[in-house]
């Protein structure tokens, strides 16, 4: 399948990706310093969060090709686990987020077990229904305060508790670290044996099976990693916002918002989720702030139109504008 000599090309390309990633990281470390505006800083924090979340979604939805419309479930599990551990037992969220991530990863395995027998739209709908079931149950679960949600009490400025009197700047670095680690995980798995399995499963599961790729375990591995990253993101979100409720952490619109940056930026690509989040999240947030504050729905109209326009005009994702080759399926994205 691969011509001799290409492996060198691939190694060089992957090294280049690391260099670009490091440069971006430095830029983002410096980015908030000249920006005094708190709202703008908050916007960047959210963008970084969704870049990380979508990078997690992309591992299952992009590389492995299993379009999940229920990722809010893993986000919610992460958010609720960390919040409950912190408010009830006093466990610092820096630990709680790993507990949340692991639980979310396990949940992804549990969901995957029956759902991975389905393919295409059947799978997408199954994840949607599972996600909505979870929303309904949590809305009625008194132990986690049902539909009222949980307010995370402020105790003291603390990095281990991820609580800050002025939260925006510290959380810039928290979310930057999150997005960077998610990116690094994607970079590692993209070049690993799993990465090749996933792309094979995505292209043609039957052909992959005939080449001794174990399809089901491959999907389960993608689901676990993807669920873990999403769960950790949910835990960080709960500490950043200080309040979680079922609608904001388990709703369908969140599942879509987790998937969209990868879809808009380029599914199954390393840079797609970053680029997609950088375009989508500011547009969505700014249109809410400027147009939708009266609840008139114009923000939703713009958001919906943007999704349609980008999906139709750039189905291969915005990364194709940069001439980046799609890693999934190996088509040359710039040719279209």
């Amino acid at each position: 399948m691969r011509r001799p000599g290409t492996s060198n090309v691939i190694i060089r390309r992957r090294r280049r990706e690391l260099v670009v990633g490091a440069i971006l990281l430095v830029l983002f470390v410096l980015l908030p310093l000249p920006i005094g505006n708190t709202y703008l800083r908050g916007l960047i924090v959210l963008t970084l969060l969704y870049a990380g979340l979508s990078q997690g979604w992309n591992i299952l939805g992009g590389y492995c090709g299993q379009i999940s419309l229920g990722h809010a479930l893993y986000f919610g599990i992460g958010a609720y686990t960390s919040a409950m551990l912190f408010t009830v037992l006093g466990v610092p969220p820096t630990l709680g987020m790993f507990a949340g991530g692991i639980l979310a990863g396990l949940a992804a395995l549990l969901v995957g077990w029956p759902c991975f027998r389905l393919s295409g739209h059947y799978y997408a709908i199954a994840t949607l229904v599972v996600g909505m079931t979870a929303l309904l149950l949590v809305q009625n679960w008194d132990f986690v305060n049902a539909a009222m949600g949980i307010t995370i009490p402020f105790r003291a400025d603390s990095w281990s508790d991820l609580e800050f009197r002025v939260a925006v700047l510290p959380f810039h670095y928290v979310m930057l670290a999150y997005a960077a680690v998610a990116w690094l995980i994607a970079w590692v798995v993209e070049g690993s044996r799993w990465g090749f399995y996933w792309r094979a499963v995505k292209d043609d599961a039957t052909a992959a099976r005939s080449l001794a790729v174990r399809v089901f375990p491959s999907k389960m591995a993608a689901a676990a990693i993807s669920g873990f990253i999403t769960g950790v993101g949910g835990a960080l979100y709960s500490q950043y916002v200080g309040f979680i409720d079922p609608d904001s952490t388990l709703g369908l619109s969140l599942s879509v918002l987790i998937a969209l940056p990868a879809v808009v930026g380029g599914v199954g690509t390393l840079w797609g989720p970053l680029l997609g989040a950088a375009v989508l999240i500011p547009v969505q947030q700014l249109s809410i702030a400027w147009l939708g504050s009266a609840g008139n729905g114009i923000d939703l109209m713009i958001y919906g139109m943007l999704i349609i326009a980008l999906a139709l005009a750039r189905p291969q994702g915005l990364v194709s504008l940069l001439g980046v080759r799609s890693q999934a399926g190996g088509e040359v994205a710039e040719s279209a």
């Binding site: 709908i125 879509v256 109209m301 999704i307 349609i308």
Partner: protein, 291 residues
């Protein structure tokens, strides 16, 4: 809990189930035809309800009289969605399956926003129609007339769908589903068949919406709940199967009503999702689906 109450709840659930079945049939038709899931299906229902409400307010036409009008309107909406968005997303060369999912999701978000802009977020209701506030009594069972009428009309519309699927056009639909390339060779215009298919799917939702607006509140987000039930119904009955949609719809309506009887009403959908999970585990293709 007397037998009469259980019977009353069960019949209520059955009637609701007939509405679910018709909504699901529209979704199933489109899915079976071209392997496209319309994630804006619930918003078509919402549009039909608002259209009925607006015409009722402006012209004083009773929802029942509006049935053919709204069905035609939603036929047009379905066909327009196909021509404007779906045909384009099917022509895309990359990630076709994914583009289709997110284009219809974008449409659903857009339509909710548009409804909010035009009608506001308040709940609306039609309370002075011919069917409003009347009941029918059969023995000890007392049912709202609007719900009985809705069940019957939806059943009729369902029968019409089955008849359509047996006509010349129905066979063209079937042929296009089997092999969309080959039908072009025997003179079937694929785009035309697909847009009529979307139109019929829209009309089915339109009829359900009119009947629903007689007794159900109307809001910009009313569609999402019905859409979710429609996905479960279609998955339960088997994608693309009309009899499956009918039986699954009625089953879902019954289970929902009976769950509300034994559990907290806010948990009434848990019963539906529980059967869905069971079907998923033991019969992934649904009750009547082809794999």
């Amino acid at each position: 809990m007397t037998a009469a109450i259980v019977l009353q709840v069960a019949i209520g659930g059955l009637l609701m189930g007939l509405i679910y079945a018709l909504v699901a049939a529209g979704l199933s038709l489109i899915f079976g035809l071209m392997d496209v899931v319309n994630f804006a299906h619930g918003e078509l229902l919402m549009l039909a309800m608002y259209a009925t409400f607006t015409i009722h307010q402006a012209l004083g036409l009773d929802p029942l009289v509006q049935l053919p009008l709204i069905a035609l309107l939603l036929f047009g909406a379905g066909a327009a969605i196909y021509r404007g968005l779906i045909a384009r997303s099917l022509a895309v060369r990359f990630n076709t399956g994914m583009v289709q999912v997110f284009v219809t999701f974008g449409l659903s978000i857009f339509l909710v926003g548009a409804a909010q802009l035009v009608f506001g977020s308040d709940f609306r209701a039609i309370s002075d129609g011919v069917l409003s506030n009347r009941t029918v009594a059969i023995g000890q069972v007392v049912l709202p007339l609007a719900q009985v009428a809705a069940g019957l009309i939806c059943l009729l519309a369902f029968a019409a769908l089955v008849l359509i699927s047996r006509t010349e056009f129905g066979r063209a639909l079937e042929a296009t589903r089997e092999d969309r390339e080959a039908v072009a060779l025997i003179g079937i215009d694929r785009d035309k068949v697909f847009s009529v298919g979307w139109g019929i799917g829209g009309a089915a939702v339109g009829i359900a919406g009119v009947m629903l607006s007689n007794f159900y509140y109307i809001s910009p987000t009313v569609g999402s709940n019905f859409a979710l039930i429609a996905y479960v119904t279609v998955a339960l009955g088997g994608f693309g199967s009309l009899p499956g949609a009918l039986i699954a719809g009625v089953l879902v309506g019954l289970v929902e009503a009976l769950t509300a009887l034994v559990m907290d009403p806010s948990l009434k959908q848990v019963g539906i999702f529980a059967i869905y999970v069971l079907v998923l585990m033991f019969r992934p293709r649904g009750l009547f689906g082809r794999l």
